[in-house]
């Protein structure tokens, strides 16, 4: 019942203490609660915002703008956006069925499979990169065979995507699974009796109802892959235009000048912020249409 939403600014409209205080016994409590919540919010937001703001304050903004014209930066930016987008698509396409199956079906080894999914998050990124090399590199357990067919993965743009998928998929899958679990099975039942197959039900009923969580998970995965550094540089190398994403370009610039690298970081942060905010706005509109 969207109507019942109570606005935070609500009791500000209540009369002063002097007038009708007796009618609203919980008013002081309510005020205290709001003050407390507001304070927590402000403190927490400060904690998160302050480092970001510091980055902006302490770096020369004109230099930031100038570095946008650097072809190295343009290459890295394009590569970052391209690979992160492809990564997010892959994660969503691959992760959605996994999340759904793990949420709704019991099969042998489900708990192990479910926990396995979290492992890439625990591995420090460079270790993840080494693990990927050991699996898909030229000498790797699988890469070894692929290489026999002349198919090398490591140190290519594909490797960037693989590293990002490996590192960011858990964030999507976990949230998607929770969202699927929280969809009432009654809707599924209703759809089935109305002649919808499992697949039709999934796409027309379950997916839209779970969409809020799925979108949020996809944004997390996108953000994580935009910031991915350790696994990428280990598994894909640091080749300008081919595997040098923004985080790698930032690292490389750091060898020469901290300032330049911070400028790049600011560019990455601003552009990602804009992209994510746009995605949110767009999906909120869709979601509103879907939900309200």
């Amino acid at each position: 019942m969207a109507l019942n939403q109570v606005e935070l600014g609500h009791t500000n409209e209540l009369p002063g203490q002097d007038r009708e205080a007796i009618v609203i016994p919980s008013r002081t409590k309510e005020m205290a609660l709001k003050a407390g919540l507001g304070l927590t919010l402000i403190l927490a937001m400060t904690f998160i915002a302050l480092p970001v703001v510091s980055l902006f304050v302490k770096s020369p903004l004109d230099a930031t703008l100038r570095s946008l014209y650097d072809p190295v930066v343009m290459d890295a930016l394009k590569l970052s956006l391209m690979t992160s987008t492809l990564t997010t698509l892959t994660v969503v396409l691959m992760g959605t069925p996994i999340a759904y199956v793990n949420a709704r079906f019991h099969y042998f080894g489900r708990d192990i499979a479910d926990s396995l999914i979290d492992l890439p998050v625990i591995m420090p990124p460079a270790v993840a990169g080494i693990a990927l090399l050991m699996a898909f590199g030229r000498m790797g357990i699988l890469g070894h065979y692929l290489n026999a067919f002349g198919f090398g993965i490591a140190f290519t743009t594909l490797a960037v995507i693989i590293a990002q998928v490996f590192v960011s998929s858990p964030f999507y899958i976990r949230q998607a699974k929770t969202s699927f679990e929280d969809v009432d099975t009654a809707f599924e039942d209703a759809a089935r009796t109305l002649g919808a197959s499992r697949v039709y039900t999934f796409f027309h009923v379950i997916l839209p109802i779970a969409s809020n969580g799925l979108i949020s998970g996809a944004i997390m995965a996108f953000a994580r892959s935009l910031g991915e550094f350790g696994a990428t540089i280990m598994f894909a190398g640091n080749f300008q235009g081919r595997t040098q994403t923004m985080p790698l370009a930032i690292y490389t610039a750091m060898q020469g000048d901290l300032n330049v690298s911070l400028c790049l970081a600011i560019i990455l942060v601003i552009i990602s912020f804009v992209v994510i905010a746009l995605v949110k706005m767009l999906t909120r509109r869709v979601y509103k249409n879907v939900r309200d």
């Binding site: 809707f187 009796t193 002649g195 309200d292």
Partner: protein
């Protein structure tokens, strides 16, 4: 013809039911809260599996434990009004009613024609664009009814389908339902707590007690049943309704 002969262990007791419903026959199920009426409908719809037994429609098994047959709910072709409606919250009233037609791959033109027809009959055409979560309780029940009836199912399962309707709609719907079912001739099971429903709609009635059929007979006999005798219901004097 619908044949049911199933067993299912529930939390508090065992459900054991054996009934048959003929083509175009309307079987009214009555019984105390929690006696297993909704569960029985779910078994017939294929949403839960019996422990054992057989359910068959027109001689073909929908479920048969002996042959390990269990037909998926989506191919049973059922019109089911859920007790809690189970409207799709992300869809408009229109899309909820159109859902069953879309799964049957009708053209959008046919769908619009049919949906308009049903929504107008149910007095829902004005709110067709409202999301299913933002309409009143009785409106929801009407949507659920329209959604189940529009697909012209082979079998009707209605779980207290009139309980939230306003007085006028209730009266109209009783008339409509009876006519509709008799004219299309599908077996129907209607759960209700309102003995007027039994008297006005039903051909036959079953009283369920703790999962077993306690009484069964003509719909008009119900008032005489001792099991529900201390009710304050008086059978309508004339059957114009």
């Amino acid at each position: 013809m619908l044949e049911i002969d199933v067993e299912k262990q529930l939390r508090d007791f065992k459900l054991e039911v054996k009934i048959e419903v003929a083509e175009g026959e309307i079987l009214m199920l009555v019984g105390d809260n929690g006696c297993g009426k909704t569960t029985l409908l779910n078994l017939v719809a294929g949403l839960i599996s019996p422990d054992s037994g057989r359910i068959a429609l027109d001689g073909r098994p929908l479920y048969d434990s002996a042959f390990r047959i269990s037909v998926a709910p989506e191919v049973r072709n059922i019109g089911y009004v859920f007790q809690s409606y189970a409207l799709f919250p992300h869809m408009s009233v229109y899309d909820n009613v159109a859902f069953g037609l879309r799964t049957r791959k009708l053209s959008e033109q046919e769908i619009e024609f049919l949906v308009k027809d049903h929504l107008e009959a149910a007095g829902l055409w004005e709110i067709r664009r409202a999301k299913a979560g933002s309409i009143s309780g009785g409106q929801k029940q009407r949507v659920a009814l329209a959604r189940a009836l529009i697909i012209e199912p082979r079998l009707l399962l209605l779980d207290e389908p009139l309980s939230a309707l306003d007085v006028r709609k209730q009266a109209a719907m009783r008339r409509d339902l009876r006519e509709k079912i008799h004219s299309c001739g599908v077996p129907s099971i209607i759960v209700t707590h309102d003995l007027r429903d039994v008297a006005c709609i039903g051909d036959r009635a079953c009283l369920i007690e703790k999962g077993k059929i306690a009484l069964s007979g003509e719909a008009d006999d119900v008032i005489g049943w001792g099991a529900i005798a201390n009710s304050d219901v008086i059978k309508p004097k004339d059957s114009t309704v």
